[in-house]
Amino acid sequence: MTRIISNEQIAPDVFVMKIAGSYKGRMGQFYMMRADDGYRGDSYPLLSRPLSIHDKGDDFIAFLYRVHGRGTAILSRMSAGQQVLLEGPFGNGFPVLDEPGRIALVGGGMGIAPLLLAARHYAQADIYLGFSGEAFAVESLRQAVESAARVKVMNSRHRSILELLEPGWYDTILACGPAGMLKALAECTAAANDAALHDSEGYPASTRLYISTEKHMACGIGACLTCTVRTTSGNRRTCVEGPVFAAEEVDWNDLTTV
């Protein structure tokens, strides 16, 4: 059921793991995964790691991940035929909007992972991808949207993808990436919403920004309350009510502790 088909390195420290089987899940949802060595409880890691669904077909599911610490390092050393433990899909995922209007998908670094499914769903979207090092996984996104020209990529240690993006131009923005980037994006978007801009011709009445957030997790199903984030409507569990939140809801101080 959870046999690895392939586990390829596509950039320094970045891997795509493909797993055989028919799996559920929408854009922005995630699975909890770890290597399965047949023992539980006192092997490392104890807890599974949350990974967004990157790609999905009738007979496979794929995860795009960066080697961050030991858990992901162990995953990166696995090879075809070995087993992983996989539970999911979990979380709310990106919103399915009937009328998204003009829409942008914004990804920073590994934040690209959940955007492939989002690009398939919102094929009319403009896509902005920022990398501090080598770019990766861009080609499949180009193929997912109506026109490859809609995909803008910046890879630079010193500049930000946000330089290319005018948030106020869009009705809807879906974003995933480092907390710092998300926060900057939220500030620009809020500024645009405040400004008279939206009365200008061609601009939408307001911009709605949805961000996919990260919090350390234990259960993944909403039981342990270790993944909560403070929002304007109280604590919300990243694994159930998240990981996607409307940007104006979240308390950024509580997010950036990840």
Partner: protein, 311 residues
């Protein structure tokens, strides 16, 4: 016929496998993975009289064969529990244990009183309330007033005594491994009329983020659980079980049927499973079925045959 039944303070449990407080929510989230009706019981997320939003910042870190949490008793409060969660829990077909925390004596007493009154009313109306109260005198993540009731026997005594006086629910007191003298603490609970004790809660522990030069948790210390602590928890359960005549519910790192058997041989009447639920969402099913199978394989008909056989 193998029987896994056990009796804690007048409540008959289907089997000795109870899901530990704080790791099983109010039973809803695991419904897709485990039929709660097969479980011995569920101890709900720790309640306090008033709602609490818990601790800010990072709430979890993995450690060597363990995890640290600093949830800080986030919960909707006793009233909301009774209204929104308990009705669901009583449909699950398993013993419902209300885990009650507090930051001062009044909170404990009023919380216990509300839970008891509600249950009495439900029963009078032919309904069901909670089956047992688990008094958590040991949450290491709540520090209001700087009091930690679970450390000194005499401080804890007054809480246990007062709670006992306001409830006729079966009363289980949950002990902290940080108690100065855990045997003395347990004996005190028996003296004060508790029907059972459960142990251990998490160990107060620390993790430092050396690059940010601060504790990994805003609160400073956090509670350690999981397989790492099992050998210490087992020793404590053994010590306490030998000193008490009321039932002892053992926990700390249980992750397999063999672990459960160890606790029972050490003298536990039942066990609780915490962290392992996160490791394996189907822990309940695996452990209950596995326990049944193990007993049959070993030709043990009742847990009484092995309970406390380690002298």
């Amino acid at each position: 016929m193998t029987s896994l039944q056990c009796n804690i303070g007048g409540v008959t449990l289907r089997n000795p496998v109870i899901m530990a407080s704080g790791t099983y929510g109010f039973g809803r989230e695991y419904a897709a993975y485990v039929d709660a009706g097969i479980l011995g019981g569920i101890s709900c997320k720790g309640l306090t009289l008033h709602p609490r939003s818990g601790n800010p910042g990072c709430r979890i870190q993995e450690t060597a064969s363990g995890m640290m949490n600093s949830v800080g008793l986030e919960n909707p409060g006793v009233a909301a529990f009774l209204e929104q969660e308990l009705p669901y829990m009583t449909t699950l077909g398993t013993a419902v244990i209300a885990n009650l925390g507090g930051s001062n004596a009044e909170e404990y007493i009023e919380g216990a009183r509300l839970l008891s009154v509600h249950t009495r009313q439900q029963i009078e109306q032919g309904g069901r309330g909670i089956d047992m109260l688990e008094l958590n005198i040991s949450c290491p993540n709540v520090r209001e007033g700087g009091i930690q009731f679970g450390i000194q026997t005499e401080t804890a005594r007054s809480i246990v005594r007062q709670v006992r006086s306001v409830t006729d629910l079966p009363l289980m007191v949950k002990l902290s491994p940080g108690a100065q003298d855990i045997v003395e603490m347990a004996v005190m609970c028996e003296e004060e009329g508790a029907d059972a004790v459960s142990l251990v809660n998490t160990f107060s522990a620390m993790k430092i983020d050396i690059y940010r030069r601060r504790s990994a948790f805003d609160n400073g210390y956090a509670g350690l659980s999981g397989p790492a602590i099992k050998p210490i928890a087992l020793r404590m359960v053994h010590q306490v079980a030998r000193a008490l005549s009321i039932p002892v519910i053992g926990m700390g790192g249980i992750s397999s049927v063999e672990d459960i058997i160890e606790f029972i041989m050490a003298g536990a009447d039942a066990v609780q499973v915490g962290t392992y639920n996160f490791v394996n969402l189907r822990a309940g099913t695996e452990l209950v079925d596995g326990l049944q199978t193990w007993m049959q394989q070993q030709r043990i008909e009742s847990l009484e045959e092995i309970r406390g056989i380690i002298g």
